[in-house]
């Protein structure tokens, strides 16, 4: 399986995910060298187009492209032609005139990456579209867990918190399941979408059975959700859903896509505990994004199949 774009985690079957993760392992080795660079994409251009604030996704995509020796142009909506009212289509056609090999796009709207793929000859990588998908986050999380556990088959993963507004939750439910894990989502009923079970997960309103989880994946709880009356107060949210070392059982692994609201969805002791994989997730981000860029732009599907 060799898709031209990475729009949805659904674009990849299990073998496709594993191939990217295997590739990421070799790039992780590159990131450990003193000279963290390989010439794979020399002379090719990668455009990072971010319509939403982002620190780790945008910086890791930029680093990933640079470590592959690509030329990188990063465009943010603030201060750009987007600010002047240019449409997404016109922006994409303008940037496509530079003949980039890939466009990495983050948008506040579902389906933006898919639309962009129809407007440019470049490979398109979805770095987050609305509350829809964030496939490279799912890949780096699977990568992190696979490194720790060997494989995900039968692993029980709980995704806790604001599932309603989370693209990470959607891509990760699908990605974890594709790798053989059992997924449960848990959070306040106001923040668990009706019919989420259609994605193949279970839904819970309490953490009463959290001890059954092998992995606790905590989502960011945004302050504005309180203003929007999804929860009565952050205090009550923290009382019911905050993950602390007291709520974790020994051996459970703790993950979070960042950025964390300390003291809301996670307690400081949990973040700093040896069960937390947050730092490994961030590190994995660069290697996995290198692998995605490489797979889409440089890998020969035939050779890969032989290898």
């Amino acid at each position: 399986m060799s898709p031209r774009h990475l729009i949805s985690i659904d674009d990849l079957d299990r073998a496709g995910i594993e191939r990217i993760l295997d590739r990421a392992e070799s790039f992780a080795e590159v990131s450990g060298r003193e000279i963290k660079k390989v010439p794979a994409l020399r002379g090719r251009t990668v455009v990072n187009l971010f319509y939403e604030a982002s620190t780790r996704t945008s910086s890791s995509f930029e680093l990933a492209a640079k470590r592959l020796s690509a030329d990188v142009v990063s465009v943010r909506s603030a201060g750009s032609s987007v600010d002047k009212g240019e449409s997404l289509k016109d922006t994409i056609q303008t940037l496509s005139a530079y003949d980039p090999a890939a466009i990495v796009i983050r948008s506040q709207y579902a389906g933006a990456a898919q639309l962009v793929a129809g407007w440019t000859p470049a490979a398109v990588i979805n770095a987050g579209d609305g509350k829809h998908e964030h496939p490279t986050q799912a890949l780096l999380d699977v990568f992190t867990l696979r490194r720790r556990l060997g494989q995900l088959d039968g692993t029980r993963i709980w995704i806790v918190g604001d599932v309603l507004h989370s693209r990470v939750a959607r891509s990760n439910i699908l990605g974890f399941k594709r790798m053989g894990a059992e997924v449960t989502v848990a959070g306040p009923p106001t923040l668990i979408p009706r019919h989420i079970e259609a994605l193949g997960c279970q839904a819970k309103a309490t953490l009463d059975e959290l001890h059954k989880a092998d992995v606790v994946y905590v989502l960011r709880m945004q302050h504005e959700r309180m203003r929007e009356a999804f929860v009565p107060s952050l205090r009550e949210y923290a009382a019911r859903y905050q993950i602390s070392t007291a709520r974790l059982t020994p051996g459970q692994l703790l993950m979070h896509p960042g950025p964390v609201n300390r003291g809301v969805e996670l307690s400081s002791d949990a973040i700093d505990s040896s069960q937390a994989l947050l730092g490994e997730q961030v590190k994995a981000g660069v290697a996995v994004r290198m692998a995605v860029l490489y797979e889409l732009l440089a890998a020969s599907p035939v050779l890969a199949a032989v290898a």
Binding site: S87, A110, L115, D129, G130, H132, S166, R167, P193
Partner: protein
């Protein structure tokens, strides 16, 4: 008084030879010669029995069906103010291409049709440009803002068929109640777009498994049905005449059925897209599938079909809602709501419902013309001495939607690219030929 407007056109002189005439109200379902003289149906006779008088055009209609012209009680002609989406000329051309002989236009234009002067000037535009007769609804509240009633009596005197804030609900029950009370003075149907904004929130599609997957905010079906139930109760209490627009879900059909059973003077309409598509197509994230109310579940679609069959839902309306290409070529959540529908309504229903045997052809014909009586307009009838309002349809033909463009100024049709069976060959509206299929002559339809 006169409440329909169209441009002057030459009265048709036509002989439709050997058309299969299907008009349930006229009790006709058989081959007939139809002679139209001076824009009126002069004579109906057995096939081959009528001859054309001098100057009359003869159309060989063998193998084609003649239906009473369709009536669409819910279209957006975007005039005044948004003529880049549609004009009265292009909108009525699209209607004629779809076999419609009468339209009712919604007032959510720019400016809103909330004053008699605006309505009169709009009627003037229709008298200049409309290829088929158009009637107008005025808004219930000024600027569609839900706060102040329009001068409903003066608007009625200026020609309004009724009132609607379509595009928006009348949120305040108290405000709607006043409009229903005032209806006793001025008459006119009060037509309602039902939606509770507190439940719809910032929803962009049906709330269900697909919205959960896509991460897009959903519009629950109860957003519509709770308002239908509320307003049916108000209609019963005030003994008012209320029409529910574009019903989309099981619960709304149930609420309408209950209100009718209790004797309320209520009626309802349903759109071809809600009868033929579900939210499953939204997985494509194609903004053509974004409309309000949204495409809902298969269970909702089934309930709409059975409601239409049983007569709980009175008529079919397209909610033809043109938008310019640049407005729809954006991510789904940003796109405006609406699909065009005039050119595809009958073909969609014929292909998706009639051919598979879900609903009878005669029922669809009845429901596609029933909108007229709901607004106290004469119903098209294929009978002697009636004004000629009919369409000639080739049920054997097939076409790809949009392959040759659209008569509408806009192309945001949710059926774009589908292959449909049946094709309108000729439309006669208010006694004049409003549409001929471009290939009519080449295909040898015309003798």
């Amino acid at each position: 008084m006169r409440r329909l407007y169209q441009r002057q056109a030459e009265p048709a002189e036509l002989l439709l030879r050997d058309a299969h005439v299907l008009d349930p109200r006229a009790g006709l379902d058989e081959p007939r010669d139809v002679l139209i003289r001076g824009g009126e149906i002069a004579e109906l006779g057995p096939s081959g029995s009528l001859s054309a008088p001098p100057g009359a055009e003869v159309i060989d209609a063998a193998g084609k069906h003649a239906f009473p012209g369709f009536v669409d009680p819910h279209v957006h002609l975007r005039t005044p103010g948004q003529e880049y989406k549609e004009t009265i000329g292009t909108g009525t051309a699209a209607a004629a291409a779809g076999g419609f002989c009468c339209l009712i236009a919604m007032p959510n234009t720019a400016p809103v049709v909330d004053e008699a002067a605006i309505l009169r000037s709009l009627a003037g535009v229709a008298e200049r440009d409309a290829l088929v007769p158009v009637g107008f609804l005025a808004s219930i509240t000024r600027g569609l803002e839900g706060n102040v009633l329009t001068e409903m009596a003066e608007l009625r005197d200026a020609g309004a068929l009724g009132f609607t804030d379509d595009g928006r609900p009348v949120v305040s029950a108290g405000m709607l109640r006043k409009a229903l009370q005032y209806q006793r003075l001025c008459g006119g149907v009060v037509a309602l777009h039902e939606e509770d904004p507190a439940l719809s929130g910032d929803g962009v599609m049906h709330e269900g498994a697909v919205s959960a997957r896509l991460g897009m905010a959903g519009i629950p079906s109860v957003s519509e049905s709770t308002m239908v139930a509320r307003d049916a109760a108000l209609a019963a209490y005030e003994d008012a005449r209320v029409h529910f627009q574009h019903l989309s879900c099981v619960e709304s059909v149930e609420a309408l059925a209950q209100a009718k059973a209790a004797g309320a003077r209520v009626s309802g309409e349903v759109c071809p897209h809600h009868l033929t598509l579900t939210d499953d197509v939204v997985r494509t994230l194609d903004s053509r599938f974004k409309m309000n109310p949204p495409l809902r579940s298969e269970a909702d679609r089934r309930a709409l079909i059975s409601g239409l069959t049983s007569g709980v839902i009175d008529c079919i309306a397209t909610d033809h809602a043109p938008h310019a290409r640049h407005e729809k070529e954006v991510p789904f959540e940003q796109a405006p709501m609406g699909t065009t529908g005039l050119e595809t309504a009958f073909a969609a229903l014929f292909t998706e419902l009639i051919m598979p045997g879900e609903i009878e052809l005669a029922t669809v014909i009845e429901r596609m013309t029933a909108g007229a009586a709901l607004y106290d307009l004469p119903t098209p009838l294929i009978a002697p001495d009636e004004p000629a309002n009919l369409c000639l349809v080739d049920l054997e033909a097939r076409f790809e939607v949009g392959a040759h463009g659209y008569a509408s100024r806009s192309a945001n049709c949710c059926f774009h690219g589908r292959t449909f069976h049946s094709r309108v060959a000729l439309t006669v509206a208010a006694g004049a030929v409003a549409f001929r299929a471009p290939m009519l002559a080449e295909a040898g339809f015309i003798a």
